[in-house]
């Protein structure tokens, strides 16, 4: 009991912090999950927050962001973040029909339902996978290589992305050798920061160069159309179960189950696929659109939750696209969490399975209790306030500062140069060749975990 109380305190407090911070950030369009959640989680870990607190923070952050990201998506017609992109067309059609609020309500209700289902299911699937964990870990180097090739091939760049892994892996190896010689250690955090914020870094380089600036120039301010405010229920706010029809409840639960089990696929791809799978069976265009809103947003929650929990609980190595990107710090954030030589010393070893279940659910419930009523009642006002008051310049400035601070923390000026190098190269790969951050994170792990084994074969 004496141990349990502080644990609950940390979990509650950090879940609140995560839900508020990322519930608000979900309102800011285009705030990519990897670029925002990964660095802040890293910070929370490096600050020395106990494992339960770190875990609750992360779970609340992803659940809250994928509720509020539906607000700009439905009311402004711009995707709230990367995972909101598959919802955009359905949301636009409902918006034009004059019912953006129903698009929002179906989306967030689906998100709530799927998040609550995904936590226990993911723990169950992880438990089923646990007997094979040792076998998986012993060949982890090869699995990372295969997964990197697969994730690269499934990206928009296909084979180009697979081949692009080679220079990227060599870049990581070279930088590691360089920092080992100068700092006497290899860096991790700086690589993650560089990869995650690469798109921002490359835009800053373009803006700084007279040649590059031309590609960014726009004659006018970007125009956003906010749908008129409308709220149709009278009296008590409807619960998620009241908002969704019985068919939609079933479809969302089904999609959450399937997407929880298939934790090795890209979350965006799963979201599109689940929308198709469950939407195409629905008769009537209106019902299909609203079902897709619910199913797709539900899948953004369930993929994120399951792809984090299953590898974390069963294996301890970041073996899913999600674990390798957004959730990466939970697996590897030296000196606090490490996977040196493929041996995990992270949340996998620090938390018990029941803790993942209990504190995972607790964090999701806190995130839902904060964001669902907020999105139901304040969506219009919040969207308007953000658009009018929070300038993009301010957000860019704050993230630029955060980048420098965390890099300096890990390894001084040399770490800052590493972040800059990885960010510029990774950002260009992303922008020019659609080699997204998930591929690059896998490339990092290939360099660190697969290459030593491969070299040993030829030694």
């Amino acid at each position: 009991m004496e141990e349990l109380l502080p644990m609950i305190g940390w979990a509650l407090g950090m879940a609140l912090a995560g839900a508020i911070a990322f519930g608000l950030l979900g309102l800011v369009s285009g705030t990519d999950e990897t670029a925002t959640i990964a660095p802040i989680t890293l910070l929370v870990i490096l600050l020395g927050v106990p494992p339960v607190g770190v875990f609750a923070f992360f779970m609340a952050a992803i659940s809250a962001k994928h509720i509020t990201h539906a607000i700009p998506t439905t009311l402004l017609g711009i995707p709230g973040d990367t995972m909101a992109a598959p919802l955009l067309r359905d949301a636009q059609l409902l918006r034009e029909l004059g019912v953006p609020h129903i698009a929002l309500r179906k989306a967030i209700s689906g998100g709530v339902l799927a998040a609550l289902i995904a936590v226990p299911l993911a723990v169950l699937f992880a438990w089923l996978l646990t007997p094979f964990a040792d076998a998986i870990s012993s060949v982890a180097g090869w699995i990372f290589l295969a997964a990197a090739v697969l994730i690269a091939f499934l990206s928009k760049s296909r084979w180009a992305a697979v081949i692009a892994l080679i220079p990227f892996v060599l870049l990581v190896l070279g930088l590691n050798a360089f920092t080992l010689a100068t700092l006497d250690k290899t860096l991790t955090v700086s690589f993650f920061l560089g990869i995650a914020t690469g798109p921002l870094i490359v835009d800053m380089f373009l803006a700084a160069s007279p040649v590059g600036r031309k590609t960014l120039q726009r004659a006018d301010k970007r125009r956003f159309e906010l749908a008129a405010d409308s709220r149709t229920w009278k009296g008590r706010m409807p619960s998620p179960f009241g908002v969704l029809s019985r068919g939609q409840l079933g479809a969302t639960a089904g999609a959450a189950t399937i997407s929880s089990a298939t934790f090795v696929f890209s979350p965006v791809a799963m979201t599109v696929l689940m929308g198709e799978l469950f939407g195409s069976r629905v008769k009537g265009a209106y019902q299909r659109l609203t079902t897709q809103m619910s199913v797709k947003n539900g899948t953004t929650e369930s993929t994120y939750i399951a792809e984090t929990l299953i590898p974390l609980i069963a294996i301890g190595l970041p073996l899913s696209p999600m674990a390798a990107s957004v959730a990466s710090p939970l697996f590897n954030a030296p000196p606090v969490y490490t996977i040196d030589d493929g041996v995990p010393n992270n949340l996998h070893t620090l938390l018990e399975p029941w803790q993942f279940l209990v504190f995972g659910l607790l964090a999701v419930i806190i995130a839902v209790l904060l964001t669902y009523p907020f999105a139901m009642t304040q969506a219009h006002r919040a969207a308007k306030w953000i658009m009018q008051k929070v300038s993009h310049e301010a957000i860019i400035g704050a993230f630029a500062g955060l980048l420098v601070v965390i890099s300096l923390y890990e390894g001084g000026v040399i770490a800052l140069f590493v972040t800059l190098t990885v960010g510029l190269v990774g950002g260009m790969l992303n922008k020019l060749f659609a080699v997204h951050t998930g591929v690059q994170f896998m490339g990092y792990y290939v360099a660190v975990l697969s290459v030593p084994g491969i070299l040993a074969l030829f030694a």
């Binding site: 310049e393 860019i396 630029a400």
Partner: protein, 149 residues
């Protein structure tokens, strides 16, 4: 024409990380971020370490100071630089156009009277029932005409 879009101005906006910004304001904001936040971090780390705090802890504390400094940068930036966006609040397009697009992309809306009770109530509450019904009657009239011709 609003005062925000003066004609004759040379294009002075750039699109960075998904939104338009003024380059001058962006660089000032970045400069604030990369000078003030690391300065706060390094100074506090030096202060913690020289007052005898354990190096590991001093690092963590000053990281928190650095994060706080980034938040300050965001708040100051938001106050100094106004968003470069145009926000229009509008009733959007016509419902007829929207139904055209939906039927073309998603499929027929169908007869609202055949909807399940829950869906029917939802559609009526949203004020979509009459438009859906009229659309269904137009569609079925059109298809019977086609069959006749």
């Amino acid at each position: 024409m609003t005062s925000e879009t003066k004609l004759g101005d040379s294009p002075s906006y750039i699109e960075v990380w998904g939104d338009t910004v003024s380059p001058k304001h962006m660089w000032l904001s970045i400069l604030m971020g990369v000078i003030f936040a690391p300065a706060a971090f390094l100074t506090s780390r030096w202060a913690f370490e020289s007052s005898g705090v354990d190096a590991q802890l001093a690092g963590s504390y000053s990281l928190l100071v650095g994060l706080g400094a980034c938040l300050v940068v965001a708040v100051v930036g938001a106050n100094l630089f106004k968003p470069k966006r145009v926000l229009v609040e509008s009733e959007l397009g016509s419902r007829e156009d929207a139904m055209d697009a939906i039927e073309a992309e998603v499929g027929p809306i169908g007869d609202p009277d055949t909807f399940s009770a829950g869906d029917l109530a939802e559609v009526k509450q949203l004020g979509l029932y009459d438009d859906f019904k009229r659309r269904f009657e137009q569609n079925s009239a059109a298809s019977t005409n086609e069959e006749k011709s």
